[in-house]
Symmetry: C2
Subunit: 308 residues, 2 copies
Amino acid sequence: MGLIVALAGGVGAARLLRGLVQIIQPEDLVIVGNTGDDVEVYGLHISPDLDIVMYTLAGIVDGAKGWGVSGDTFECLETLGKLGFETWFKLGDRDLAIHIVRTKILKEGKTLSQASAELCKMLGIKARLVPMSNDPVRTKILSGKLILDFQEYFVKRGTKDDVTDVVFEGAEKAKPAPGILEAIKEAERVVICPSNPILSIAPILSISMIEDQLKSTDAYVVGVSPIVGGKTIKGPADRIMTTMGLEASAYGVARYYEDFLDRIIIDKADEHHKDRIRELGVKVTTTNTIMKNLEDSIRLARVVMKAP
Amino acid sequence: MGLIVALAGGVGAARLLRGLVQIIQPEDLVIVGNTGDDVEVYGLHISPDLDIVMYTLAGIVDGAKGWGVSGDTFECLETLGKLGFETWFKLGDRDLAIHIVRTKILKEGKTLSQASAELCKMLGIKARLVPMSNDPVRTKILSGKLILDFQEYFVKRGTKDDVTDVVFEGAEKAKPAPGILEAIKEAERVVICPSNPILSIAPILSISMIEDQLKSTDAYVVGVSPIVGGKTIKGPADRIMTTMGLEASAYGVARYYEDFLDRIIIDKADEHHKDRIRELGVKVTTTNTIMKNLEDSIRLARVVMKAP
């Protein structure tokens, strides 16, 4: 089987990918992870979306939350709180081990790509998880006159602000991490995971060389809609799409990706959008897209790999 | 009351200092801490002797061990072990918070002095804890043809090697941290804490400007012998003194410090060394020097402050 490239955000992507690695050779999978959410906390470099994917593929993710390490404790964080630091970014003690190691590797002068590769090896992950760029690209949320860092918007303020615009600081200067353009070019299939189009996939696309390569690749590009029945499974994608002037629906997602999308997998609940999506020149598969367990993930991954 | 300067190593020093801060204004106390044992683990800067003093003065030390944070857990360390890292240096989860903060402050371009001052403030410590130098001085243990880093000798190999020499790498270039020379000069009293002379106090003295200032100060210099009845309370001082050709006794300690020592406090068990010590020109006080609890520490601190 040929190379598969997946563009991935957080929880939704991780759940599809845990199925995908069961039905293909994981070595054939290149996951391009969003690093627009990366943040430095207490001097440690944290890549939340890469971590969610890593923890999920390593089988150590907190299944209920979808992020963080299963059974984790928060002794270090509580101590930092007692020392007077803010503790809204919930770093568990086991979780911290990953951030400490990543920061150490970066401090040694290596790139985020190298750090991710080393961490994946330590965790026994065979798929290649590549950050979208080794250069800093930071997602900034605009809410009226307010500019928020992504984690400030997402975690600290609990996505309560109305998003009026999203900016990817540094994107114009950022280069794709090594191997990404080649992988998209040579891939048999590119999968756009069911992640927030504006907050998780758009940061990846904000690196123009990646978007250009997606538009010109011969690979079959399949997306999975994260919007089901006009709602997101998790997170604020529906609200953000609306405030950004997009339709919060499977159609809106297909439209957002129409420049490079060959097919979109939508939920059965969204069957009524089929014809409108087809008018965009995008093929449609309807299935049950909700992934509650590994079996759901494998089933959806099979649909993604089967079409057309 | 005037300024008091204490030269301090780890557990023994911390136990005396917890008594001292009860009987003097802690703001009048400048603690010069040994940083020869400092080590970088997982990219974090760790100052074990400064930490023992800080944790003890902050009342959060693990009382039974004398180091580490009381009730600490080891989830992060265990995870690092699973990732393939060595875990012989026992970093607790709460303990880690301190190392993360210190490393963060250093990364911001501040000095170890500044980091220590900030940490002490966060922990509510009013005494001034100053690292002996902001420059790296690293204690290296020679055992025949083997050169060991201090923590390798002390923790990893459990002090099993015969020490044939001790070298303080970087000492010749290291400057005392700001304020130390002035404090020793202006002090009313300098206390040499009951720490390992060769492994904890010698690194401080290896910075020649500090030793010279001790020799020329008008302050009354009082030491407390860490050797009781020819044995150390804790640690390998007795063995090391012997292999280094010193007498492992209260006399041997007095002799080691004779160039600047006015008085030594020795245990009642060592009363028979009194006359020999006096022949060195060092005055002697005998008392019970074992500190099992805070009351013992306060009582010994009173003896230290009262003499002559």
